[in-house]
Subunit: 402 residues, 2 copies
DNA sequence: GGTTCTTTCTTAGGGCACTTTATAAAGCGT
DNA sequence: ACGCTTTATAAAGTGCCCTAAGAAAGAACC
């Protein structure tokens, strides 16, 4: 048993090459050598390793440019899988993705409710095993489970500190518990970070240097990636977009969350006495938001104004973030964008084009995430793939337990 | 000529070890091995290299903990020097620092005025040579020159894109020009980034994970360091603190720069008819700001109110930034803090303690930078030291030309 | 239909930064 | 004085990546 080469920069080259193949689609060894800076000889051996791992396959020949035509390489999508789990009080979403980030399975079960953590872990492990069985996926080809949970987390320890949404959990070391139960590497992270990695893994973000995924569920958060690496800050609490102060309706400062999230839109609709007309029931806040968004899409004027207002405030927040982080790419994810996503995209895009400090030097691409609703679950799965297959740590050590 | 070992993670270990010795003061080889994760054997050879380079010396023995007492290592302050230059229209500051970041020489000459770039480069090179001569420092022990300039820069190319403050310069490849003239590696960066590195190099920031240095000169900028690495964003235009939108005096949104920078304080004083009483001349805006700050320090009520107002707005901006970047350390630098610095520190500190999102998980240390006034020049010198001796790139390639 | 050129990919050998293992050096405890 | 612990070095081995040289496969030209 040789000691892991700790070094100050461990052997990431295999991961980086894999990441390039994944992102740049079919690509030749020579092209890989050029973009990484490694030599063709080295690339040859690195690729061989990836092929014996089964991660990569040769898919045919490229066009000749005057000599031997290159052999194109691509990921072998069904060689590995990852599971993503989004914990919620009302429902839990399970997603299985393959190597290229495509969803191959999806399940939804009732939420945590008031279940104890230990009981919940058993339920989760069971459901994961059942889902994989149903898809005919062997556990040996599953790289791990990415769990996304609301509330303050200790990412480094993989623990849920306390979660007002999930019963009365307090300091639950979920990563270790679930890892023991399901016998797979487990990662725990928040929804926005996961969604960002999900965009990076499946989407075509490879040329974005500074990307942010804005995640709006019940609250508003964001995940920032710099060169594909998660920006975490001092305590993994970076990018709490909902907590930034913007100018509220009456000119007084307000948290973005208070005036732009789905709850605030619903409250505002009530204040304006639109409860009846828009068919709000007051049971599930999110259902009510959905109703307003649907009405807006149908062309209802009041509903449109409500959504637009929320979108404008969100745009202000994104503008501040884009200026501070010097972003060149933004995507919107989360169930809140499922219906009225395009309206939000338009508002953010317009605002950035108009007011971004560096708008003369470069623009910011704004788009809707793929799988808007399940972006967090998909992202959890992508996060575990990235951590296991193409590690890109910096600062905080990788937060996995196997 | 062997090809530079590109690798995906070039041999940074020497630099990292040096950086640790610099930051952690006298430290033994074993302690270094522990904190880096390298073995004691490796550390032995790495340290030997640093000692033959002259960068590090053995300074004595530590206390025994039951066996052989460790030999303590520390940097050899006068083995290397770096020059920092701050370009300004009114004046140019030259600073020479030694390895531990202490200032060993300082000169000020008239500013660029309307001089042409090519002429200016000759003057700069001459002054640098003269200064080094006067200090009896050989050029072979100078690692390079760090130039700090206002206005939009192309950090990667080392060029000044255009500078309203420096004559009518347009797209001046200053790094290459000056490097050719002075025969030393040259780096170009903006004031805030430089000041941040300066704090990191000379100050005791080593345990800060996410640090920001707020730089207020005529404008307001900030430089963020994550684990000692400069955060640059997509186009090196990150952290333009002056450009974030806060709630202005009348409740309408305003750029932070418009309501908190020295110019705005002076304008406000005029609006209030305090011109005479506070002795404002209207010639040099910065002199007037200084006068107001002095009056505030003396206890003048109106002046205090003006400074406090500016400080409160700045605090709002820093709060937003601290929330988004999840900072654990902030320092204030720049000539604007020379007189009334403590007032600003107090305001920012109070605000963060009160309103920071993660205030229950960790606090943010706020302090005044050492060498407040010349922080940018010192930082330029520190930047060149870091780049040459302890490179920590990520994303954007190192922006040096030698 | 060869020969030659260009481009792609592989093999072989070597350097370097680590590692493990073993040993020397220098103090502490009995 | 002797062993024990801690610190530092020496020697041999391993793995990653490089250079150098060659094989493979088509394009271009005769």
């Amino acid at each position: 048993m040789t000691k892991q080469r700790v070094s100050l920069s461990s052997g990431t080259s295999k991961g980086v090459v894999f990441d390039l193949i994944r992102a740049q689609g079919p690509i030749s060894r020579v092209a890989l050598a050029e973009t990484t800076g490694l030599t063709q000889a080295t690339m040859s051996t690195v690729v061989r390793q990836l092929m014996t791992d089964g991660l990569v396959v040769e898919t045919g020949r490229g066009e000749s440019t005057g000599g031997k035509p290159p052999v194109m390489l691509d990921v072998n999508p069904s060689s590995r899988f990852a599971v993503g789990v989004q914990l919620g009080r009302e429902s839990i979403t399970f997603v299985v993705i393959n190597l290229s980030g495509a969803i191959v399975g999806r399940t939804r079960t009732p939420g945590t409710g008031t279940a104890e953590p230990s009981e919940m872990v058993v339920r989760l492990a069971g459901e994961i095993d059942r889902t994989l069985d149903g898809l005919g996926i062997e556990k040996s080809s599953v790289v791990g489970v990415g769990v996304v949970a609301p509330g303050p987390l200790d990412i480094a320890r993989g623990a849920i500190l306390h979660s007002p949404h999930l019963g009365a959990w307090r300091d639950v070391p979920l990563r270790e518990m679930l890892s023991d139960a399901v016998r797979l590497p487990v990662i725990l992270d928040n929804d926005a970070t996961a969604a960002a990695i999900g965009d990076f893994w499946s989407g075509k973000l490879d040329d974005a240097v500074a990307h942010a995924t804005v995640y709006m569920g019940t609250g508003i958060g964001a995940g920032v990636l710099i060169d594909g690496i998660v920006f975490r800050g001092a305590s993994s609490n970076a990018c709490e977009l909902g907590q930034i102060v913007v100018t509220g309706r009456d000119g007084s400062p307000a948290f973005l969350e208070e005036i732009a999230d789905p709850g605030s839109v619903v409250r505002r609709a009530r204040e304006l006495g639109e409860e009846r007309r828009l068919g709000l029931h007051g049971e599930d806040e999110f259902e009510d938001f959905r109703a307003i968004a649907m009405a807006a899409v149908r062309g209802d004027e009041q509903a449109t104004a409500l959504i637009e207002e929320s979108a404008e405030h969100l745009a202000s927040g994104v503008l501040t973030m884009a200026n501070l982080f010097d972003l060149d790419s933004v995507s919107l994810a989360g169930p809140a964008f499922a219906v009225a996503g395009p309206t939000y995209v338009r508002a953010v895009s317009r605002r950035l084009d108009a007011d971004l400090f560096v708008r003369n030097q470069h623009s910011v691409r704004v788009r809707l995430s793929t799988d808007v609703t399940d972006a967090a679950a998909v992202g959890g799965a992508a996060l575990v793939m990235q951590t296991e297959l193409a590690p890109r740590t910096m600062g905080l050590k990788a937060a996995v337990s196997a």
